[in-house]
Structure formats: C-alpha cells, structure tokens
Amino acid sequence: MTQSNFEARLAQARESSTRLRDAIATVIVGQNAVVDQVLWALIAGGHVLLEGAPGLGKTLLVRTLASSLELKFSRIQFTPDLMPSDVTGTNVLVMDATGGATGRFELHRGPIFGQVILADEINRATPKTQSSLLEAMQEHAVTIAGVRHVLDQPFFVLATENPIEMEGTYPLPEAQLDRFLLKVMVPNPSEDEMTAILARTTGHAVEAPKSVLHRDDVLALRALCRDIAVAEPVLRYAARLIAASAPDSSTAPELVRRGLRYGAGVRGGQSLVLASKSLALLEGRAQVAFTDIQRVALPVLRHRMIRSFEGEADGVTTDQVIEELCRVVPTRSGAVEQVLQGSR
C-alpha cells in the first residue's frame, strides 16, 4: 500500500462519514455530538448504549442510521416478559400442509440476526434476557440449541435506556455494560433545535433517508480504523488514565479514591484507544493525538466505573471523576511538561 492509497482511503473515509452525517441530519435535528459518538462506535466496531429521556430521538436516530447504511435493521422492545428466545430465535417444529408434524425442526431467527439492532429500553427486560445479548455483542455469534450461528457483519447494537421511570427496571449488570464501547448521553435539545424539531415533525411525514453507505463501506471504514497509528506516548497516556482510575492506585487523585469503588479495566483501555482511532479517522488523521484520548474518555469510561457508597452519597458522578482524571494525569513525561511550562 502506498502513501497515496492510504491517503485516498482516508479521504474516502472522510467523505463517507460526511455523507452519513448529512443523511442523518435530514431526519435528526441537532444532536451532533450524539451522532458523532454513534459514528465513532460504528467505525470502531463497538456498540452504543444511549441514555436519555423519552422523546429525544434515540430510536429515530437508530432507525435513521440503519436506513442510511442499507443494513438489516431489527428492533427489540425490551419488556419484563421478554424471553431470551424472543431475542435470539428458536427452533420450531415444521408442519406439513395438512397441519401434521413433519418431525423436522426449523430455526426461527430472532431479531438479533439483524445488522443494526435497536435494543429499546434494554433495562426493562430481566437480566436473563439482557444476557442473551452478551454472546452476540462480544462474539458476533448466537448459539441456539447447541448450534452456533455467526451473525452478519457489520453487527451493531444500539441500546437505549431511560434514566427516569426506574421502577420495575433491571439495571444492566457490569459485565454487560462493559460490552458497550460507548455510553452516550442524549441531551435535551436547545431552543433552536427544538424549534427545528417542532417544525419538521408537525408537518408531513419525513421520508427516511436513502442509504448512503453499504455494508462493504462500513467494513472498509472499520478496517481503516484499525490501521490508524498510535504513538507509544499516547498509549502510555491511555494506560496512565486507566491506572489512575483505580481507587487503590498510587496515582489516583483524591476524587477517585473517595468517589469510586472500582475503576475502568483493560477493556476500558482498549475501548479508549479504539474510539480515539475512530475519532482520528473521522477527522482525517492517520495518528491518534492526546486530545483524542481526552475527547473520547467520557463516553468510553463513564459506564465502566462503579461509584463507592461515599461517592454516591456525595453525589459524585463518573463524569466528574473522568474530567478530574483528564485534568490531573499528565499527558507527557515530567521533563517535557517542565520544558513546556517554561516556554509558555
């Protein structure tokens, strides 16, 4: 591969991402940060947990994305009575024309066999049902009646959570939360955005966007993301951030010691680098910068930390902890920081 080829791929990736953003923007008003973060996860090959109040366009965003990508879309509405087989599918007995049993079973595929999966209100299903997603999310495969079924690529799960109406919900277990590359907080729209939303949604129905990226395009983006270079100092910085998030670490700041019970793990570090690569790619760069790590830190790490009792009592949020980590943990070595300080 020559320089021009890599540059061309980079340029194509930028062009693809721009098209995708534009397509989404025809339906979704504002929420640029949310859209960007969803794209980071899509390109990095991770899954996204969207958290926000009802009516903020979470489901619409996912549907729009699926439409734009020309990928098979499935929606699973999680309810307390939803069974794992409702997600994965099951073998059913095949009947003949007379209505008699043929003695043959046929796989009836569940919604998990899509490519863009919307797991709506995932915290309303029982942990057993929630865990049915685990294998699919991690290994991109489903085992039904002892038979392993590999899922089509790209496989992209977007789950939504409603932070209000917590009664009768089942908070996601830590193991499952860790499977999500990002946890994206969907904010309330601004006044301008709200005005545009009202104008757009109270008239004639808006057409779904046409697909702008195909399966192969997405896979190419994902491959290119893996080729993005990361210098050792940047990797070290990511490692320092993860290490400092452990309350028993010597480098942990006071807020971490007080507010957290568990910090981020290895998967958090991997996600940090992957998401940074994705961000660099979307910005047309071939290498990851320190700032990329800092920018992706919040969505990547916020669901991987468990607050301590004291932290919860004091109202310490994981976002505050991450911001403190980014502020305290030095990006470069001490000697370089000293020289930089003396030169400002």
Binding site: F6, A229, P233, V234, S333, V339
Partner: protein, 599 residues
Amino acid sequence: MPPESTELGRFHRLFQRWARQIRLRLAARSLLTGLALGFALAGVAAAALWWQRLGSLRPAAAALGAVGVLIALIVATRRRLSDSDVALYLDARLESKEAISTALELGSSEDAGAVVLGDAVSALDQGDPKRARPRVLQTLHALAPVGVAAVVYLSLIPLPPGPAVPPAAPGSSRVQLANLQGLEKIERLENLDARDAEQRERLKQIAEEAKRLREELAKGMEKREAQAKIAKLRDDVAAERLKLGDQKNRAGLEAAVGKLAENKSTRDAAKALGDGDLVEFDKKMQELANKAEKADRDAAKQALDEAQKAAREKGAKELAQALEEQKKLFEKREAKAEALRELARGMKGKLSEEALKDLEEFGQSGSPEAQKRLAESLEKALQGMTEEERKRLAERLQKQLEQQPGGANPMTKEQIDDMAKRLGTPEGQKALEEQLKDLAKPDASKEGEREKGLGDAERGGAEAERGLGGMAPVPIEGGGPSDGSPKGPGDKGGKGDPGSKADGSGGPGSKKDFGTGDHKGNTAKLDTKGLRSKANGKMNAGAPMQGSTMGRAPSRPGETANQAGTGALGQAGPSELGGVEGSEVPEEYREQVGRYFQP
C-alpha cells in the same frame, strides 16, 4: 540515517535541526538558572558573612555563582531531552496532533506511517522556530544580576557593629595589682608577739595567705575571688582578737570593769576595758603608772589587783591573765617613771624652763608623750653639763639615795647607783644618755601590742577591700565608737559632745551651741599623721552608687548583736549586754526575747 532524498530522510534532517536548537536553548536556560540560583545563594551567603562580620570572606561568596553553573551543567547533561521527548515537545508547540512523535516511532514502515510522516514533515517545515523554541530567559534569571549586585554591595559596605557585650557578673572582672595597699599590715602578723605557739602558727598562716594573695593579685585574678580572700583574711584576723565580751569572759569582764570603776583614777581605764579596747586600756594604765603621786599609783594597782581577782573568780581566765600581765607591767612602768623623776630632781638646777614644765606635766598626767619629752630634755641638759657638774650630779644622786632608803624600787636604786659611779667617765655619760633614751620609750603590754597589731591588720584588710573597689567600713583606730575619751596629748577627756569646750559650755556646732557665738569656726588641729579625707575628693571611687550596701562586718555562725564584735556593725558594748532584762519588753515575752538574743 536514511537518504536525504526520501521523506523519512527529510523528516530526520528537519527533526534533528529542531532538536539541536531546542537542546541548546534548554542547556543555555539551565546554565542561566544555575547561574542565577548560584548568585542568589552567593548574595545570601555574602549577607550571612556580613552579618557574622567575616568581612574578608564576602567576595568569596561569588564563587557560589560558578558552583551554580557547574551544577547546572551536570544537571543539563543528565537531563538532556531524548528524541521522543523533543518530538512530544514539538508536537505540543507546533500543534501537530502527535504527528511528529508518531512519525519518529513508526518511520514509513506502516501504512499510516507514510501519511503521518508527511504530516510531521509539513509541521516541522512550516513551524515557526521563534514561536516554538523554548525560551532561554526566564523571570528567575533576574536573580543573577541581583545576586551579583548584592555580593558587590555587601562586600563594600562596612561590617555591622558587633553585638553588645553583656555586662559581666558583679565582681567577675579580673583585677591585676602589683601592690595592694593594706595587705602589708596583715603580712606583718607573722612578727607579732603571739599569745601562744598555736596562735603564732595561725598568725603565720594568715600572713602567708596575705603574701600569696599579693602574688596572685600581681599575676591577675578575678576581683570577686580576691574580695572573698580578703574577707576571709579579715575574718581570720578578727577571730584572733581577744574576745573579752564573749560568753566565757563576759561575767569576768563585767566584774573587772566594776572593780576598776569603783576607783576614780581607774574609771577611764574601766571604760576602755569595758569597750574591749585593750590598747586604750593599756594607755590609761601607762598614764596611771607615770603619775607622780604614789597614792594614785597605789590606788590604781589596788584596783587592778582586785579587778584581776574578780575576773579570775568569774572564770574569765584570759582576761585575768591579761590583767595579771598589766599588773606586772604597771610596776615596771612605775619604776621607770620614778627613775626618770629622780634623775630630773638630781639635775634640777640645770633643767630648762621647758623641761621643768614637762616634768610637771609628766607628774600630773603621766602621758607617754610627756615622758618622752622629759627624757629628751634630760638628755639635752646632760650634754650641756661640765665634768665638774656631772660629778656633783653623781654625788647628789648618791646623797638622795642615802636619804631615801627603800623609798624607791631596788632596781631603780641600783641603776642610779651604778649610773652615779660611772657618771664621772665619758663612757658613763654615754651610758646614761642611752638609758635616758630607753626611759623615753613607754612600755606597752603584750596584749595591747597584740591587739594593736591585729587591729592594724584588720584595718589593712579593710583598706585592701577598698583598694579593690569594695566599700568596706574601715574600723576606727582604737576600736569601738567614739566615746569622748582623750585620744592624745592635750585632750582633756571626759564625756560630752564632740567639740564641747573644756568648761562644758560647748563649742560651735555642739549640742550646747545656742547660736550665740561668732560662728567663725574654730576646729582644733587634728593630731594625725596624715589626712584621712580631703575636700572635692572622690568618694568611694570604683564603689557602687549609694543605694546599695557593700559594707560587711566580720561575723561567725551563731554570733548575734548582743555579742561584742570587732567590726563596725554588730558591736554591742558591755552595758548593752543583757539589755533585754532592763528593757520595756513585757514580762511574759521577756524570756522568749532573751532566749532569741542569747549567743
């Protein structure tokens, strides 16, 4: 190093150029920082040296600047930035999003490497060196000229005055005196006629101590130490004085004084004895022994004998011994005076008017001064006699002896007989002159001489204390307060106010002076060898200001004020002893108060 033509080669060339500049500037910055800190430290060191008044070392403090540079050089070498650190620095300064760091690490081997390399080259090529390179000068570097200025300034200004020396402890100052006046009087104690062998030994030791102190003072010693030694010497001298009023002798003294006071002629002597003044007592007895009237002399002898017996009866052994000695001396003096009078009578026709007056005064007052003058007049008259006259004098003396068988002291008779026989020859005349000189000398009692010597020594101690700046009270010659008793020739004696006239009308300034006189002042000429004070003289030179008392009086444990002392303080006369009984202390407390004052 990759070839220049390739992108990687270009990157390395550009990077090394940047790196060289950055490292050079950082090294310069380190050196300046070291220099600044060194000179700042030098300034502080110079200030410390100035404060400590180590003036000559102040410029040397500047060497700390060079030390600072040296340390900075070592630090700069050890902390030289690596290529990776330089790349990170450049990424931050050129805002190249870590392209340079990544390019340095990856080269062009990776897929993304080539793109990153291009970005890095672009960043390095387009980067503004003025904006990106590290600053050499920092605010901290301003310390260098400040430090240099401080060193120069502190090296030029005069050193601060030394800390005030704290005042030395009283008496801790050293004193060096080649000859301290007064000590010689204590040294003379070794020649004093001691009461016994033990006292002789003690007096010798005191004298040696005084000599040793003189030597130490000549070398130099602490003033307070010298003062302490003198005080000890004075204590030792005082301890040697006869304590007639102590517990052992008090009853005997009172009895002896009582007996002497019964006789009119010995009342003055009784007063002197009561005051413990043996020298004065001896003088009074000498006067009595010189008197012409035999009745007076016999009465005095009788009183002395009774006093001696009374003292012995009361157990005052030392006092009885002193009175016994006085009695023997009295007889000797009496014989001497008689011989003098006999000789004068023999030479009556040849005596001058003045000599006759002396003879009369000698007979009346018996004063040693009159005795001396009479002897001198006789000697003069003897020298003016012809050989014939001297023979006639010898015959007359022989005749007088025959007319007064047993009237005079046998010793005197023999002496005069011998003298009459030899008077005819020049040798005899010479011998007579010698004898007259001997007769002119009054005989002092041993006890009196001893007391006089000890008194002298004590005054010498006080004088020595004054010589060291102390304000020791000088004991008055003769001991004890003035009592109006006659102290010299012409002194009529008798009690009364000082300055009172002989007729009792009182002189100017006396209690009997009612302001009717002329107030011109008519103070009698002082009979003294030298001035004791002078007008405008410095009072107590070297002594503390008034308001503090430096005086001291000899005392020993157990001594109280009702014990006759020898110093100026703490003295109590015999009449004051047992004063509690005669006081107005209520009966119920009298015993308790008396016990308190009991020695």
